[in-house]
């Protein structure tokens, strides 16, 4: 490297700047005088001072506490009823079903409950599962989105990810994969027992429980306009755990096959091992009576879904909703807490600043 300098030196000998007379024509190596190159870009230079930090804390406190209170009150006004029908307990009507489960016989049980308060407006009926790892990586992966989107090739050749629920008896499974295979298939029916002891069935809407995008974009039946799902799914096998094939999920053509809303809801895997999924909607009546008045009810369960092996729980939940969704005390409390802490911190900081803070500390700069 050293020796190479001679060349550079010679070059350096006649640099363009040495002429001096040519004026503007001469290119010098002088750097441009731009704000960017000289690092003089105009800039906003904020500093964390008492004047900005303390108000920020107070403002956050003052905003968060009312939000929190609002959330808390809203959440408390929401009526929710939860009923565990797993049947692990000897006394439970579903005990028998939970103990002697086999896939051929359907087992039915009925639970009675009463609502202390009437449920106004639309009531949403959920099923809840606990200890069910819908978020396990192997489980989450085990689906074929292009099959579910109606892709013919994937219908015949499901993705490898679906293993070991990919084929059955050399036929491709539709829908393939562990998620579909484990679809929740209990049937829940709700009856109102009027004061004279008569069971009146409550009509449950099963449409509109899935996301619009899922129903209309993400999930599509194969075969395009061919409405005869039986022929479309002809060469496929039903998932091992299912009782009936996918084209028999519902009689309504708009809710059958892959676009069956119960199926779609199930396929949107939950983030946490304890979750609830929307099952049915109880539409509000037009008249003035509450959707679900006070009184006694019964829940008829067709017990298909086994959870005993992994100590899971099954619940039926009835809930009204508000602008912020369902009952959710966590957010309200969290907002109130955070708001209070911010306000309190603001006070503490103000105190510290007044008592110990060095407000004109620029004067004692040792230079």
């Amino acid at each position: 490297i050293m020796a190479s300098s001679y060349g550079a030196k010679e070059e350096d000998g006649h640099h363009p700047g040495s002429a001096g007379l040519g004026g503007a024509a001469i290119r010098t190596k002088k750097p441009d005088n731009t704000a960017f190159k000289q690092q003089r870009l105009p800039a906003w230079q904020p500093i964390l001072t008492a004047g900005t930090v303390l108000p920020a804390f107070f403002i956050i406190g003052l905003i968060f506490i009312p939000i929190g209170i609002g959330l808390y009150v809203t959440s408390n006004n929401i009526k929710e009823f939860e009923l565990d029908y797993t049947g692990t307990d000897m006394s439970s009507p579903c005990f028998n079903c939970s103990q002697s489960w086999n896939s051929t016989n359907t087992c039915k049980c009925e639970l009675f409950f009463s609502l202390d308060q009437p449920f106004e407006s639309n009531v949403f009926m959920y099923y809840g599962l606990s200890n069910f790892y819908q978020n396990h990586r192997r489980y989450v992966k085990s689906r074929d989105d292009s099959q579910l989107n109606g892709d013919e090739r994937s219908l015949k050749e499901p993705s490898k990810e679906c293993e070991p629920y990919r084929t059955n008896e050399n036929k491709p499974i539709a829908p393939c994969g562990a998620i579909a295979n484990s679809m929740f298939n209990d049937t829940l029916d709700l009856f109102y027992i009027d004061p004279n002891g008569k069971k009146r069935p409550i009509s449950l809407t099963k449409k509109g429980i899935a996301w619009w995008t899922d129903k209309h974009v993400k999930f599509r039946n194969p075969g395009g306009s061919n409405s005869n799902l039986t022929t479309v799914f002809k060469d496929t096998a039903k998932p091992v755990n299912w009782h009936k094939p996918v084209y028999e999920l519902d009689v309504d053509i708009e809710n059958n096959g892959f676009i069956n809303e119960d199926f779609i809801v199930w396929m949107r895997t939950a983030a946490l091992p304890t979750f609830r999924k929307l099952y049915r909607i109880i539409q509000k009546n037009n008249d003035m009576t509450p959707t679900l008045p006070r009184g006694n009810y019964s829940l008829a369960v067709t017990y298909n879904y086994p959870v005993r092996s992994f100590e899971g729980r099954k619940r039926m939940i009835l809930s009204t909703i508000s602008w912020m969704g369902g009952k959710n005390p966590f957010l309200g409390i969290a907002y109130i807490t955070v708001g209070s802490i911010c306000f309190f911190l603001g006070v503490v900081l103000l105190f510290i600043h007044h008592k110990y803070g060095n407000r004109n500390n620029s004067s004692d700069i040792a230079s």
């Binding site: 870009l41 900081l349 620029s362």
Partner: protein
């Protein structure tokens, strides 16, 4: 390696002239130089191999391979390959450009032409084809192509002149002389071609001033020494041509051997970063193990019961094996804690900072049209941590220009300019100069501002005339007059040149000399003086005298020398004048000028004859000759009459004292390492304000043996003083450290340094030197410079910076953490070896205090934020592991993982890393102690790292668990469920992007438009990409790649999601704000204070800045202006260096009686002056 191998074996070198076959047997290195690493074909494999040797790259390659195994692949391959390819490509492009320039410069040097004697004919050959044993011809002003043995030259006696600036930085000419037998060959090509001498000499080494060997020719042996060698890198001067025999070529030349190996320099932050990456890696493995164990347990306790819905695949044999697979899966998922884009981003930042240095107009030197240049782009932040500066003197601190500035003649000073009120005027560029047009032989470059001196000359005041006559006579300069009136002086030292040039302009023109005469033009009249004796200069005498006979036949002794020496030898009648002159000398010295006192004496014919006889006798004495001569000189140099004193300015580069003062305030220790003499170095020390009168003690170490040095280093007063300091030092606050150290200075010369650097003494040396405010090492060799730097590097673990301009500084520039070259000077060796180069020493202040400080600040903030960001981003997966059966399920969308580091968050932090200014440049320079945090490594260290990773961990915890809490039971406002994985992912990802954006906003001190654009832009881009990836269109094209269809729409239209995001952001950010505020409020750092001041000032509008002026307080006598070597008197009186008069140029007949003498018979009177030990 081949070279090292052969040189390790080589014990003796045999070179036979003109016999390539013979020489080839030894396979000596040829003259080709190769510094490039790759060629077109080897580039890709070698470069990739090198890159994958880097830990990080190899790590990511392994990750990539892991991801291809489906059983453990928890992330798609593209999440790793995109950044990895980016990193590799950027690095490869950079390496390729670097190597291209190396190729180009190699090529340039290797293809230089030189004339080689091949087969009896002179042929033009490329340098790279020159072989050991070739005879080559050099012409005037050519670079020497290899290490040559001088055979013959155009000058008489086989002399030739070389300039060794490239080797040792000295610009004065040096003389080399060929053996008589070879110089007789002349330029007779036939004879030279027949020359078949064989040289047996030492193997290649790096000692520039030593050579031993013998020449065997025609059965005779001649011993060879360094005086007969021309080394590669020298330039031939004042010699029409010369012939030389190549002894060492190419990489084996002394120049190249002195280069030292180019070490890859890495900054301390780099090293820290590597350590931290290793730690993170360890941390990653720990997390992996924890989660793997968790997985094993889970699979055993829960998973096996869950079989109904989730069977193991065939490959999974049991829970332990599942845990093992999960370990790798988690390594893949959590790999983002080892930030892959970190390395690229750091490179980009450094490149940007380098450009800012290149673009800085305040480091551009218009006179030489040289901008500052960052030659390496890897060291910028280290510029903000420098603790030691090692500076060369000549050409770095000084301009190496001596200017005759002032004088005192017979008790009256000249040189100052006064206005009409009698006030002293500061001399600037605009001050009118004295008009010397009366003198046709003047030197146009000479400037003098005080016209009263010219008036005195014109009035023919005898003492003023005598003063300049002395200056014109008493020296050892060789004149050269190419054309009539175009005088060029070949001066041994720039001081002498300045003095004689001054005399020339004031009408006492030194025009020519022969061994026995000196011809002056005194006010236009030719006057020839007979030169009877030169009483040469040496270190002990500190003066030189000449004895001349003027045309009137009077004998005169003229003497110039150090004032203290001359004053002792004055006639007692001079006392009053001596007193006045002494005052003037103090005044001159106070201004940092180099002073000399001048005196003369009339000699009696008889006394002189008597003395001359004794001198002749003494010069033939066999023992103690030098002492006897010294005594004789002493005898005649008595009772002189004082004429006056001169003051020469060793022109410092502009702003040197101010820069040094400023850097000292920034707690940077500046050591001067110079090849110059002790006196000169001290002189500069005083004029640079590094040495001051108010210093307690200036220790001078100049022992010749190990023992002496040891004693001097641990002198009683010295060590006791230091011991006391030490105990105080350790017991007291660091604040007092400076004031205590300020009292001492250490000056050590090369001989002593050689001993002090030995293992036994080096610890003492370091201790002593570091307690001194100022350290000056003089007479040091290039290698010693490097050793000193190395010593500090080893013992102090501090960042060192070496600055120099010459080839002699190369080794230290390469050794130091940061090497700075002064460009725009002669020679580019230093610049080429350097990491940064600029034209003026004073730019160092800006480089360190502004660019360095900013770079450090930016880099540290950048790193803190980067680690924070990655921990916050990645550890969410860790928390999620506990809730998803440790199954290595990712929280986020795969695309989010791919893009988070390179798209969503890279630009704001890059903008911060490029543009941030905590304190603007004026304040950075005004408060040099803002530099302190860098030296103390305060802004980024292991503790900081822990803090910011802890912050990251906390953020990830909050990011995960607040949505967790909120989504446990949440449903949408239309009753549909919302606690699904995809909504969860979008919520957390959005919170994360917002939180890290707010955090970067808090970290940004300087919001330029670019910062605004990038921060807001990143958020906008995040949402844009989010919606695009979750759109129907892209899903219909790739249904398997984009399963998140509609999630963004369906979740971000929910109030609850936004409430969660807001809550998460506030909880993540506010504690940090509180902590920072408390810190700045209760324990403000210097930076905080200056920022407040800056803001206050900005609000008040521009204020007058009271810049601290650095006053020179020194009043020390700097009386040692002699910077030249002794022994030149002898050359002059022997006539060896006189040219044969050519027809036209010389006006005066130069008949010399000594002309007949042969080279060996130069036993003239001055022979004995020779070679006193330096």
């Amino acid at each position: 390696t081949k070279l090292n191998f052969s040189s390790a074996l080589e014990e003796e070198r045999h070179v036979r002239a003109n016999d390539r076959d013979y020489n080839e047997r030894f396979s000596y290195a040829d003259n080709r130089i190769k510094t490039a690493k790759y060629n077109v074909f080897t580039f890709l494999p070698i470069n990739l191999f090198e890159q994958f040797q880097r830990f990080a790259n190899a790590y990511f390659l392994v990750l990539l391979i892991l991801q291809l195994i489906p059983e453990i692949s928890s992330l798609s391959w593209f999440t790793t390959i995109v950044p990895l390819v980016l990193v590799l490509a950027i690095t490869a492009v950079k390496d390729a450009t670097d190597d291209y320039f190396r190729h180009k410069s190699d090529q340039q040097v290797n293809t230089r032409q030189s004339q080689v004697l091949i087969k009896g004919k002179l042929q033009n050959e490329k340098w790279m084809n020159v072989r050991v044993g070739d005879i080559i011809k050099l012409e005037n002003n050519q670079f020497v192509a290899a290490d040559l043995l001088l055979l013959s030259s155009s000058e008489p006696y086989g002399l030739c002149y070389i300039e060794t600036a490239e080797l040792d930085g000295e610009t004065n000419l040096k003389v080399r002389q060929a053996l008589t037998v070879t110089s007789d060959l002349g330029d007779d090509v036939a004879k030279l071609a027949d020359f078949s001498g064989e040289v047996i000499c030492e193997p290649p080494n790096n000692k520039l001033d030593k050579f031993t060997g013998t020449l065997c020719w025609k059965d005779n042996k001649y011993s060879l020494d360094n005086e007969k060698m021309l080394l590669r890198g020298c330039v031939l001067r004042n010699t029409e041509w010369c012939f030389g025999l190549v002894i060492f070529a190419g990489l084996q030349t002394k120049l190249m051997q002195n280069c030292g190996r180019t070490k890859f320099k890495r900054t301390s932050i780099d090293k820290l970063m590597n350590t931290l990456v290793l730690w993170i890696f360890g941390f990653l493995i720990c997390m992996g193990i924890i989660l793997a164990i968790g997985n094993t347990i889970w699979e055993q306790k829960v998973g096996s019961d869950f079989w109904e819905y989730l069977q193991w695949k065939e490959l999974t044999i049991n829970a332990v094996f599942s845990g093992f697979l999960t370990f790798w899966s988690y390594i893949i998922i959590l790999n983002t804690v080892v930030p892959i884009s970190l390395y690229v981003s750091v490179e980009v930042l450094r490149l940007g900072h380098s450009y800012f240095i290149n673009w800085d107009r305040r480091m551009y030197y218009s006179r030489k049209d040289t901008p500052a240049e960052a030659r390496t782009t890897t060291l910028n932040e280290e510029l903000g941590q420098v603790e030691f500066i090692f500076s060369d003197k000549t050409g770095t601190l000084t301009q190496n220009i001596m200017v005759f500035n002032k004088c005192s003649i017979n008790g009256k000073t000249y040189g100052d300019v006064y206005d009409e009120f009698g006030h002293k005027v500061d001399i600037t560029e605009k001050t009118p100069c004295v008009d010397f047009s009366f003198n046709p032989l003047m030197d146009r470059k000479f400037r003098f501002h005080d016209s009263s001196l010219v008036e005195a000359i014109k009035l023919e005041e005898p003492l003023v005339q005598e003063f300049f006559r002395l200056l014109a006579l008493c020296h050892t300069i060789m004149p050269e007059e190419r054309n009539e009136g175009e005088l060029v002086y070949q001066a041994q030292s720039p001081d002498e040149g300045a003095l004689v040039t001054a005399a020339r302009n004031f009408g006492f023109v030194f025009r020519s000399r022969t061994p026995e005469t000196i011809t002056l033009y005194e006010m236009g009249q030719a006057v020839t003086y007979q030169l009877l004796a030169i009483l040469d200069f040496n270190n002990v005498r500190k003066r030189m005298s000449v004895i001349v006979r003027n045309p009137k036949g009077q004998l005169k002794l003229y003497s110039k020398g150090a004032d203290t020496i001359l004053f002792d030898r004055l006639d007692p009648s001079n006392e009053e004048l001596m007193f006045t002159t002494s005052e003037h000398l103090n005044e001159f010295a106070g201004e940092g000028l180099r002073t000399l006192a001048l005196a003369y004496k009339d000699l009696d014919e008889d006394v002189f004859d008597e003395w001359m006889k004794k001198l002749l006798f003494a010069s033939t004495a066999l023992d103690n000759r030098e002492e006897k001569l010294g005594a004789l000189y002493e005898e005649i140099e008595q009772g002189m009459l004082l004429l006056g004193a001169t003051a020469i300015e060793d022109k410092l580069q502009e702003g040197v004292p101010e820069t040094i003062a400023c850097l000292t305030l920034a707690n940077i220790k500046i050591w001067v390492l110079t090849g110059d003499k002790l006196e000169t170095a001290m002189n500069i020390g005083y004029s640079c304000n590094m040495l001051r009168d108010d210093m307690n003690t200036v220790f001078i170490i100049s022992g010749h043996t190990m023992l002496e040095v040891q004693q001097e280093l641990s002198k009683d007063k010295f060590s006791s003083g230091l011991d006391m300091e030490k105990t105080e030092l350790y017991s007291s606050d660091s604040v007092f450290e400076e004031t205590i150290i300020a009292e001492y200075a250490l000056i050590i010369n090369g001989h002593s340094l050689a001993h002090a650097l030995e293992a036994d003494l080096e610890q003492i040396l370091v201790d002593v030197a570091c307690l001194c405010k100022t350290v000056i090492c003089c007479r040091v060799t290039p290698l010693q410079k490097a050793l000193v730097v190395e010593l500090i590097k080893r013992h102090k673990r501090a960042v060192t910076l070496a600055i120099g301009d010459g080839a002699n500084d190369v080794s230290m520039i390469k050794t130091a953490h940061i090497g700075v070259g002064i460009s725009g000077q002669e020679g580019m060796q230093a610049v080429l070896a350097s990491d940064y180069s600029f034209a003026q020493f004073r730019y160092l202040q800006r480089l360190l205090l502004v660019h360095g400080r900013w770079s450090y600040h930016r880099m540290c903030n950048f790193l803190c934020y980067f680690f924070y960001k990655n921990f916050a981003f990645t550890l969410v997966h860790f928390w999620y592991g506990f809730l998803c059966g440790f199954s290595a399920q990712t929280v986020y969308d795969q695309w989010f993982i791919t893009l988070f580091n390179i798209v969503y968050t890279s630009l704001p932090v890059l903008a911060m890393g490029l543009f941030d200014q905590d304190v603007n440049e004026q304040y950075s320079l005004r408060f040099p102690n803002l530099y302190r945090p860098g030296q103390l490594n305060q802004l980024f260290n292991k503790r900081k790292f822990f803090t910011c990773t802890l912050q990251g961990v906390c953020t990830s915890f909050i990011l995960f668990f607040i949505p967790y809490g909120a989504f446990m039971t949440a449903v949408r406002d239309d009753g549909a469920h919302i606690s699904d994985q995809q909504t969860f992912a979008v919520t957390i990802a959005t919170s994360l992007v917002i939180v890290v954006s707010v955090q970067i906003g808090l970290d940004t001190n300087y919001w330029t438009a670019v910062n605004h654009f990038f921060i807001w832009g990143s958020l906008a881009v995040y949402f844009a990409i989010l919606f695009a990836m979750h759109s129907d269109g892209i899903f219909t094209i790739f249904p398997n790649q984009f399963p998140f269809i509609g999630t963004a729409r369906n979740s971000l239209n929910q109030k609850i999601v936004w409430l969660v995001i807001l809550l998460t952001t506030v909880v993540c950010i506010m504690p940090m704000v509180a902590v920072r505020f408390i810190k700045a409020d209760l324990y403000p750092t210097q930076t905080d204070k200056v920022r407040l001041l800056q803001q206050a000032t900005r609000k008040q509008g521009p204020q007058e800045q009271n810049l601290r002026r650095v006053r020179r307080t020194s009043s020390r006598r700097s009386a040692y202006a002699f910077a030249h070597q002794q022994g030149y008197g002898e050359l002059i009186t022997s006539g060896k260096n006189m040219k044969v008069p050519t027809s036209s140029t010389s006006t005066y007949p130069l008949s010399s009686p000594t002309r007949g003498l042969t080279g060996t018979s130069s036993a003239s009177i001055c022979k004995c002056f020779r070679h006193q030990k330096h």
